[in-house]
């Protein structure tokens, strides 16, 4: 159980959230109805995106029932950097970014992202397997990646470009996800590019870990309506919950 010194059992369910964390509703998503002091068995109360909340005007276009019929647009006040990044990524000028365009953009600057990671990212921010994102989803992806990169750098204390299971645990915790050592070991075992020698993962796979943990936790929470830490699925619901992630 080395690597989990703060908790000999290695399992941090029910630990109090870091004091700087609070409910936020990025991108117009309503927070779940947990009481402020209620402890969740599987997540902290932080926003699952962990991203800074955009301005209140952000969610405005969705308030009209016609909004769903129109392609998403950047709301007034969007950071010009985000718009510039979107336009650079949208190589064919279609107004939407597909999986190959997003992979090309993210893989610049000495960093690689597999098409699988990119598709998982797109699935989780659109909840469909269409593999296209518009300005609205791009903005969410932008802020989430910015936040996740900050977390990675914070916990990669020796600047090795890698974080180990214990640092991954701290990073996920600060994003609002409390996962067990078994889950962490599975993730690190899978994503260690040295075949288990380093027992550590690099940035691209850290992002994939964040996506997998975020995706599964959110799917589970949808079914755990009483926040008991248990969820019941029909066979059909189980298949339709897990399949889109498996085939993203």
């Amino acid at each position: 159980m080395a690597g989990y010194p703060q908790n000999p059992s290695g399992y941090n369910y029910g630990a109090p959230p870091p004091s700087q964390q609070y409910y936020s509703a990025p991108y117009g998503v309503a927070p779940p109805p947990y009481g402020q002091h209620q402890q969740l068995p599987y997540t902290h109360v932080a926003s699952p995106y962990g991203a800074p909340s955009p301005s209140p005007s952000y969610g405005a276009p969705s308030s009209s029932p016609f909004a769903a019929l129109l392609p998403s647009t950047f709301p007034p006040g969007t950071d010009p950097n985000v718009i510039a990044c979107f336009q650079m990524a949208d190589l064919d000028g279609s107004g939407a970014i597909d999986d190959n365009e997003l992979q090309r953009s993210l893989s610049a600057y000495n960093q690689s992202f597999s098409i699988r990671t990119v598709r998982l990212l797109m699935y989780l921010f659109t909840n469909t397997n269409t593999r296209k994102i518009g300005p609205k989803e791009f903005t969410q992806v932008f802020y989430s990646l910015q936040n996740w990169r900050g977390n990675f750098e914070k916990f990669d204390r020796d600047r090795s470009g890698r974080i180990d299971a214990s640092e991954l645990r701290e990073a996920l915790l600060s994003l609002g996800f409390s996962v067990s050592p078994f889950v962490l070991d599975l993730l690190v075992l899978k994503f260690d590019k040295t075949g288990g020698m380093n027992k550590a993962i690099e940035y691209d796979h850290f992002i994939e870990c964040c996506l997998i943990v975020k995706g599964l936790t959110e799917k589970f929470k949808e079914k755990d309506t009483t926040y008991s830490g248990y969820a019941t699925f029909s066979y059909e619901a189980f298949m339709l919950t897990v399949l889109p992630l498996l085939i993203a």
Copy 2:
């Protein structure tokens, strides 16, 4: 709902199993304790492998408690074809086949298998992410693939090398899995190599569909101990159930 003419709702839960199917316990796995006439909401009573049962002597080496300490071996009476295939695949003569060796072997003869499909195959037949299989697991893989190929050819009636959602449904049903049109559509949408034009999948992706449906159904059944069609997971159990499949 075209393509599901036998059942307008499109959902075949509870349909009687095809008469030629019966419980078998391939590879020494005990059948689940369903009553012979009990209808399962999510699978037929056929063996999930669908493979012919090997001779009773097959499981013998496992009967000693020391068996787990030794590498698996071919039991007496194993088809020489299986042993020859194993030896051809085991390029480094290590006595075990790794993911690259298995991919190379399966991808011969004008057929390709992605490393992801191969790893999913290895995970499902070892229940670990070690990515090595010995003679025992290879024999299971061999007979399952033989059986799945037979099913694919049976339902690919026009010999196009592709099967559509309706044929996939029939093929999965004859393997013992009854999945809904929504699940079938998701699978075909994902695996159609023409981006949705053909609405059909080729052999390598048919195998991936079989693996995914088999893997998820078996995981679900482990938790559905009363065979009610519903299963309750703790958050931890949910993560440990789904993660190995996601990261295989």
